[in-house]
Subunit: 566 residues, 2 copies
Amino acid sequence: MKVVIIGGVAGGASAAARLRRLDESAEIVMLERTGFVSYANCGLPYYVGGVIDEKRKLTLQTPASFASRFNVDARVNSEAVRIDRVNKTVAVRGPDGEEYLESYDKLVLAPGAKAVRPDLPGLDDPRVLSLRTVEDAFDMRDFITERRPGKAVVCGAGYIGLEVAENLVGMGVEVSMVQRPDQVLPPIDREMAADVHLCLRAHGVDLRLSDALESVEAGDSLTVVLRSGARLEADLVVVALGVAPDTALAGEAGLNLGVKGSIVVDDRMRTSDPDIYAVGDAVQVRNFVTGEPANIALAGPANKQGRIAADNIAGIGSRFDGSLGSSVIKVFDMTVAATGINEKQARALGIPYNKVYTYSASHASYYPGGRNMSVKTLFDPTTGRVLGAQIVGYEGVEKRADVFATAIHGRMTVRDLAELDLTYAPPFSSAKDPVNYAGFVACNVIDGRVRQCFWDEVDGMAGREGCFLVDVRGPAEFEAGRIEGSVNIPLDDIRGRIGEIPRDKKVVLICHSALRSYIACRILEQKGYDCCHLAGGYRLYASVMRDSASGSPSDHPCGAKRRSTG
Amino acid sequence: MKVVIIGGVAGGASAAARLRRLDESAEIVMLERTGFVSYANCGLPYYVGGVIDEKRKLTLQTPASFASRFNVDARVNSEAVRIDRVNKTVAVRGPDGEEYLESYDKLVLAPGAKAVRPDLPGLDDPRVLSLRTVEDAFDMRDFITERRPGKAVVCGAGYIGLEVAENLVGMGVEVSMVQRPDQVLPPIDREMAADVHLCLRAHGVDLRLSDALESVEAGDSLTVVLRSGARLEADLVVVALGVAPDTALAGEAGLNLGVKGSIVVDDRMRTSDPDIYAVGDAVQVRNFVTGEPANIALAGPANKQGRIAADNIAGIGSRFDGSLGSSVIKVFDMTVAATGINEKQARALGIPYNKVYTYSASHASYYPGGRNMSVKTLFDPTTGRVLGAQIVGYEGVEKRADVFATAIHGRMTVRDLAELDLTYAPPFSSAKDPVNYAGFVACNVIDGRVRQCFWDEVDGMAGREGCFLVDVRGPAEFEAGRIEGSVNIPLDDIRGRIGEIPRDKKVVLICHSALRSYIACRILEQKGYDCCHLAGGYRLYASVMRDSASGSPSDHPCGAKRRSTG
C-alpha cells in the first residue's frame, strides 16, 4: 500500500508516524510545501519574542529523522498542485520548480489553514507581516532584530494577535491592537474579556476595539488607517485576522466542502472520496456540544485526527467524536481558557441555556500566592448538562478548564461538577474547588433556591420604581465604589435591619462576588421577599464598566506598573 | 427545628452554613471541643514551618462570625460527652468543665479523626508531639522557635509526616523519617514512590523505610529506638502515624460502626438512627471505584458531606456518590497526586487490572521551563474503564490528576482519555496532553498492539536463556547505564540490523521512557518476532534501582545540592 500525505505538520506528521507504527510495509510519502516538517506551529510567536531562543527548537522532526525513525519519505518545499482522483495521482511541484506525478492508494490531506490577508490597500508593503509558517517567524524576528521597530500595529486580537502583541511588548515595542469586534478573544464572551482588556492596557497596549484596518500608507514609517478615521504610525504591521481552511486543492479535486470551505469528512476522517482522508485545520468537524458542523483550527484535534486517519487506513475503526474547541492562552501574567460553547454561540443557535459566574481562589486563601479566577459556566436549564465554561485568571485556570472539558466530554451535569472528587492540598486548590463551587451555584439556580440578575440588567433595575437595590458589602467597600441607586446594609446586619427593606418591591442584592448576596437572598426569600442577586457581583459589573470607560490601569488585577499609552 | 452539630471544622462547619442558607428559622448549635471552629486543618504543617506566617490566617471563621453571618450558636471548648438517643439530648462539657444537656431534633456528628499515638515507651515526653489541631500547631511552632531543635525524627511518612518534615527542613532542622512500609505515601505504589524517596534524600532527609518506632528514651536529648536496633538522637519527635475515626461517642450511643470503627451512613449521610447524620473523617463511605466500604479522611469529601447532610435535614434529597480518594501533596519541589485505586488495592481486592506507565512533559518541550511527569494509569483489562492514576512530577501534576478524577467520576474508559479535548498552548501543555498520551498507550495495550513487561520482571528475563534484551537507545545513553545483559541497537538502526536479533527468542525492547521501545516493538512484531517492551522504560527501572541502593542524591531529578545525611 502506498500512502501520500499532503502536509507535514500536526495532522499530517501524526498520521505518518502512526501509520508507520501500524504498518511496517506501507510506502509513505509526506509532502510539505514549506521548508520544515512537524514544526512547533504554536511556538512561533514565542520564537519571535525570543522566549524560545533557538531556531532548532521549533522543528521537532526533520525529513532525515522521519526517514531514519519512521521510514517515511518526507519531502519539504514540495507542493501538491493537483489531485487526479481517477488515476489516483498527485501532481507535485518540487524544490526545483519541476512538476512530477506521485501515485497513491490512499491519500491524506492535511493542508492546514492559511492566514487571512484581506485585499486592502498597502498590505503588500514588506513591513506588513503575518505569522503562520516557520519562515514567517524567521522573517518577523529578523525584521525586529535588524530594524528595531519602535511602534507596531497588530491587526486582530485572537490567539496569534495577542501572543504576538505580548512578545512585541516584551521586546520593547509600543503596540497598538486593532480589533473589529468589541472584545479580544472571540472564544470568550465580552464581559469575561473585560479583565483581559484591562490587563492589556495595564501592560501598555493601545487597544482599539470596534475598529478595523482600512489601509496602510507607506512612507518612512507606515501609517495605518482605521475605519474610525484614526491614523496610527507604525514601523511594523502584523496582520493576524484569523485563518481560513486551505482547501483550494481539495475543492478543485471535486471533494465536498462545507463550513467556511472546509473539507467534509465522516467520523473516520474520510472525505467524499473513500480513498482520500483529510485532517486538521482544513476539515469540517462536529461541534461536540451542539452537534453542528464547525471548522475549528486547533492543534489538539489536528493531532488526534491524524492518528484516527492512520488507524482507519490500517483497518482500525477509530472515530473522531467531535471537537469542544478547548483552548487556553497566556496574556502577560493572565491565563484565559474556554471549552464548549459560549453565550454568543448559544444565542446564535437558539440553544436554551442558563449561566453562573463564580469567583474563586486558585488555592487555599491561607496559603501564600493564590489569586482569584473568574469562571462563567453555561448549562442546560432543564437537564443541567454542562455546555461550556470560560475562565479568566492566573494560576490554575487551565486546570479547571480541563476539568470542565472532561466533564463536557462525559456529558456531565452541574450536579456532577458539585460532586467531583478533585485533589486538594493548600498549595494547589481549596477543599471546595472552583469547579465544585461553580457546580454548587448552578445547582442552587437550577433548583430554584436563588434567582439571578445580570451585569447588563442591573443599571436598568436601579432606575425602576418597583426595584430596591441593597448592597450587602461592608461600608468601606460600598464607599469605594457602588452601583448608582443602591443602599448599603452589610450582610451581618441584615437580619436586624430587615425593616428597612420595602416588602412591596423587587429586591436586588449585591455584594463583591455574589456569595454574600446569595446568603442575603436566602434570608430575605425565606422572609417572603421577592428578591434576586447580581450574578458575578459588583466585581464583574465594575470590571465591565471600567473596561467600557477605557479604565484606569492602576487598579487593574494585573497590577502592572506601566501605564497605557492609549 | 433544632439541629445540634458535634464538630465545627470542615464537615460540621459546612453543614451549619448550608443548613442556615436552607432554613432561616432552624435553631443551630455547633459544638467544637477545641478552641477554634472552621480552621485550616490542612494548613497546619505550613504554619509550623512559617510558610503561613500568622495565626489568624488559620481560622477562616470564628464563633462571632458564625453568629453574625449565619445565626449559628458556635461553642468552642465544648465537648459532647454523651448522646441520649431516646430523649434526644447531648451531654456537653463546657469551657468551665461543667456538664449540661442540649436537646436536638436532628443531630450531625462531625467528630473527625484523631492522631494515632501508639502505646510505646517514652511517647509521653513533652518533646514528642503530634499535629492535628490548631493548638498542636501553636505548640509545635512555639517548641521550634523557643527550643531550636537541631535534629528531629518524624515517625510516619504519609501526608502530615511529609509536610511536617519538609517544613522542619525549611527551618534548618535535620530530619530523619521512620516509615514502617517500604515506601512513603501509601496512596501511590512503591515504584512510583522511588522518585519521592530520591527527592527526600536529595533534600537531606534521612529516610528509614521498612523500620518502625519502638520507644523513645528521654535524656538531655531524646533517643529514638527503632525496630532495626538503630538509635537516633533527636531534640524533637513528631508522631504522624496516621489518623483513626474518632467515634467513641457514636459507638457508646449504639450507632452502627464499620471499617476501622467509622460510623456507618447511607448515601444521604444518615446513620443507623434516622435523626442522626454523620460526616467527614469519622464516617464510612463507599469507594467510588470498588464499591467497597472505606474510611477516607480528606477535606474535600468532608465538606461535600456536610453540605449533603444539611440538604437532607432540610428536605433536599442530595446523595453522596462515594469517594475517589483524590489527593495531592507538595514534597519540596515535587508534586505527587493520586486518584482512584492503586495497584496494591487492586491486588488486595482481586480486581482485574492492567497498567501503563507514561512519562510526559508538563508543557511543550520547545517552550522553556517544562519538566517531565511520571504517570501510572490502572484500567480494567476488558472494558478499559479507568480505575486509578498516580502522578509524580512537578508543574501540572495536579491538573492531570483532576482530569483523571473527573474521568473516573464519569466512568470513562482509556479510549475517552485518548479522545479528551483538553486545552493546549505551549506554556501549559502539549497538543497531546499527558492524559491523552496515557490513553493512547493504554489503547495500544488493550487492543493488543504491544505487549509489556515490567520493572520487577526484567532482571529475571535478562538471565533467562530464551530471552534477548535489546536496548534501542543511543550509544551514549546505553553507556551511561543499562540493564545487565542487554545489547544496544539504536532504534534508527533497527531495520538495518534486524539480522542481529535472534528469531527464536523472546525479544525484550528497552529505551528511556518506552516510546522508542514501543516503535521498535511494532517493527519487530510485524516481522514475526515474539516481543514485548519494558513499560516505564529504563527511566522507571533505574529510579527504583537507585532508590533501593539508597541512591546517590546528585543525579536525582530534584537537582537539590544538599547531600543526604543518611
